[in-house]
């Protein structure tokens, strides 16, 4: 993989990283989308299990952003 990379566009990678980082923020700041009790899951009202689920989804988003960022920075370092 040379400095330019095969079909790897830095702006595309940056866009994906941005989306991965933005998703949990937007989802949880959009309070009206989840402030209700039903449907329940294992007895947990929606309000609680939905936000707890975002803890896990958010961590996965960050892991993805991490992998992409490292790859991008490595490419840029090589290009320099």
């Amino acid at each position: 993989m040379g400095g330019s990379g095969k079909g790897r566009k830095p702006w595309a990678a940056r866009g994906v990283i941005g989306l991965l980082l933005l998703a949990p923020v937007v989802a949880l700041l959009w309070v009206p989308s989840y402030t209700r009790v039903r449907p329940r899951l294992f007895g947990f009202p929606f309000f609680y299990w939905y936000q707890l689920a975002w803890v896990i989804v958010g961590a996965a988003c960050l892991a993805g952003a991490y992998v992409l960022t490292i790859r991008l920075e490595r490419q840029q370092r090589r290009a320099r």
Partner: protein, 558 residues
């Protein structure tokens, strides 16, 4: 309530506390440095911590006694609004993922120990750096006090000096002893002590929470029953306010408050000196990023801890004097056998010691670097800096002790939220500064001053629910123009940004001197082991965006 001392629980608590004390003193030898009398060593653990240690250190740092007492207390007392701690600790990670690596890099290059060091060098303004440093110290003091409240609550429930009898000294003696020990090992071991103790703290906390969320729901009739009981309790009318206690999901009127509390707290968190201290103690640029993906494990635990508040409702816990802070310790006391209650109390107590130590170190570093070295003794040697910092850490702890013995502790969370209002106002100078030198130093200073004043006045004007005319009653207030209740810190922050932008435009147009920037573009992406390109003359045109490269020799710490 003083139901007498539970010997078994107290024995376990004291034993674990002693183990931690020994670890705290031994930490001075861990990853031993050639010379501990240097701020990089005492105050930043040698800037050597890898992903694993940092995970424990930051986990111990961010998720404090506040976690174990105040969050479930709020859930216990007011319902869904207390759960804001979960969105808060989710959205904080994408935010820090973006800017902390830049702060790490520039600090690594220039040897900054505090965020104010960076501001000083970037904006060439002693006043702005002082504002950042003083705000950091001011915001950290109540935060340390909050940790003390956490220990005090546990001691009360164990029957040590609880109740009103015995006078103030007897009441606070165990707390004073605990804090004295903490002060002693922080003094001798520096950041290494909390880093090592964090392992014990987290192991205990994960153990207690795992047991609590399996065992307690089983005992009180399952999760569905817990939420049903909570729902019934929250719908009842609070005699103090004449309104329901709260609700199981956020009511429409509370949505702005909920979202703004989460966002404002998330933006503020890594402005706290103790969080930045932990970040700067890492070995390379990517340790922080990896941790941003791994730390949410603690957020999950925090969410479950918040729900302990509802478990306390379902278990029929009636805390002494209606003090919601006692709800969770009382729950442990009621549900667990004595010895395990002792473990749980130790988890909370030690959970307060780790962040309290880091906060004291961070505040001490701010004082040393940005007040003492900047204004009192410009020529201070590294050994002198370390000595001053060590003494300052003692003073800070003593101050927090006075703070907590002298103040009303009824809602510990509000103390922390008041600190949050202040600390968020350093965000423009630090974070905007990481990306752009467009902002003018005097505009940043004016924005900070306006927002500090606004936030403090508004927070002062918020009455305690049911007590008209009282002050500092809560973190939210009606936002001008918007007309909704929102977190004061965020409103003040918006004012801050507006002032900064407008005045920057004015000052730039009228050519007010902006000072010289001591950093270059390349500093913000540097990693450990990188060759410093500026040290290879002629290779790079370093004058780009850095009009005064000669200024480099004056950058702090190098």
């Amino acid at each position: 309530m003083n139901r007498g001392v539970d010997g078994v629980a107290l024995g376990v608590f004291v034993a674990l506390f002693l183990i931690v004390t020994v670890i705290g003193f031994l930490a001075a030898r861990w990853r031993r440095a050639a010379d501990l009398m240097h701020l990089d060593e005492w105050g930043l653990g040698g800037r050597s911590f890898g992903t694993f240690i940092t995970w424990f250190l930051l986990g111990g740092d961010l998720y404090t006694a506040y976690t174990f007492i105040a969050v479930p207390a709020l859930v216990f007392g007011a319902g869904a609004v207390g759960f804001f701690a979960v969105p808060y600790t989710v959205i904080v990670y994408p935010i820090i993922f973006v800017f902390l690596p830049r702060l790490w890099s520039v600090s690594h290059r220039h040897g900054y120990v505090t965020p104010a060091d960076f501001v000083r060098n970037r904006f060439d303004s002693r006043a702005l750096a002082l504002a950042v440093a003083v705000t950091g110290i001011l915001a950290t003091m109540p935060y340390i006090a909050l940790q003390l409240v956490g220990i005090q609550v546990v001691l009360d429930v164990m029957g040590l000096g609880g109740g009103a009898g015995g006078g103030p000294i007897a009441h606070h003696l165990p707390l004073i002893v605990a804090f004295g020990i903490l002060a002693a090992y922080t003094y001798s071991s520096g950041l290494r002590a909390p880093a090592l103790i964090a392992f014990v703290k987290d192991a205990l906390i994960y153990l207690v929470i795992a047991v609590a969320i399996i065992y307690i729901p089983h005992q009180v009739g399952g999760w569905a029953h817990i939420f049903d009981a909570a729902s019934k309790h929250l719908a009842a009318v609070n005699p103090k306010t004449g309104k329901p206690f709260g609700s199981l999901a956020i009511a429409p009127a509370g949505r702005w408050a909920y979202g703004s509390l989460a966002l404002g707290s998330a933006l503020a968190l890594f402005m706290y000196p103790h969080c930045i201290t932990a970040v700067l103690s890492t070995r390379d640029r990517n340790v922080v990023r990896r941790n941003a993906a791994m730390l949410p494990a603690y957020s999950l635990v925090l969410g479950l801890i918040a729900l302990l508040g509802y478990m306390a409702v379902a278990a029929g816990v009636k805390p002494a004097g209606g003090n919601a802070q006692l709800a969770v310790p009382e729950l442990f006391n009621t549900m667990f056998p004595s010895w395990f209650a002792g473990v749980a109390f130790a988890a909370i107590g030690i959970g307060a010691l780790v962040p309290a130590a880091i906060m004291a170190i961070a505040a001490a570093n701010l004082f040393t670097r940005n007040v003492y070295r900047e204004f009192l003794r410009p020529g201070a040697t590294p050994a002198e800096e370390a000595r001053v910092s060590k003494i300052a850490s003692l003073v800070v702890k003593f101050g927090a002790l006075v703070f907590v013995i002298g103040l009303d502790k009824s809602f510990a969370i509000n103390l922390q939220l008041l600190g949050g209002i202040w600390i968020l106002q350093t965000f423009p100078a630090i974070v905007f500064g990481l990306y752009s030198r467009w902002f003018h130093r005097f505009a940043l200073l004016a924005g900070w001053a306006a927002a500090m004043a606004y936030g403090t006045v508004v927070a002062y004007g918020v009455p305690v629910p049911g007590r008209p005319g009282s002050h500092f009653g809560g973190p939210t207030a009606t936002v001008p123009i918007l007309g909704q209740k929102a977190y004061i810190a965020l409103t003040a922050f918006a004012l801050n940004v507006v002032v900064v932008v407008v005045l920057t435009a004015v000052f730039r147009a009228s050519h007010v001197p902006a000072g010289t920037d001591g950093t270059v573009v390349d500093d913000y992406v540097a990693d450990a082991g990188d060759v410093d390109l500026r040290e290879l003359p002629g290779l790079l045109d370093v004058t780009e965006e850095a009009p005064a490269v000669t200024n480099r020799t004056t950058s702090p710490g190098r």
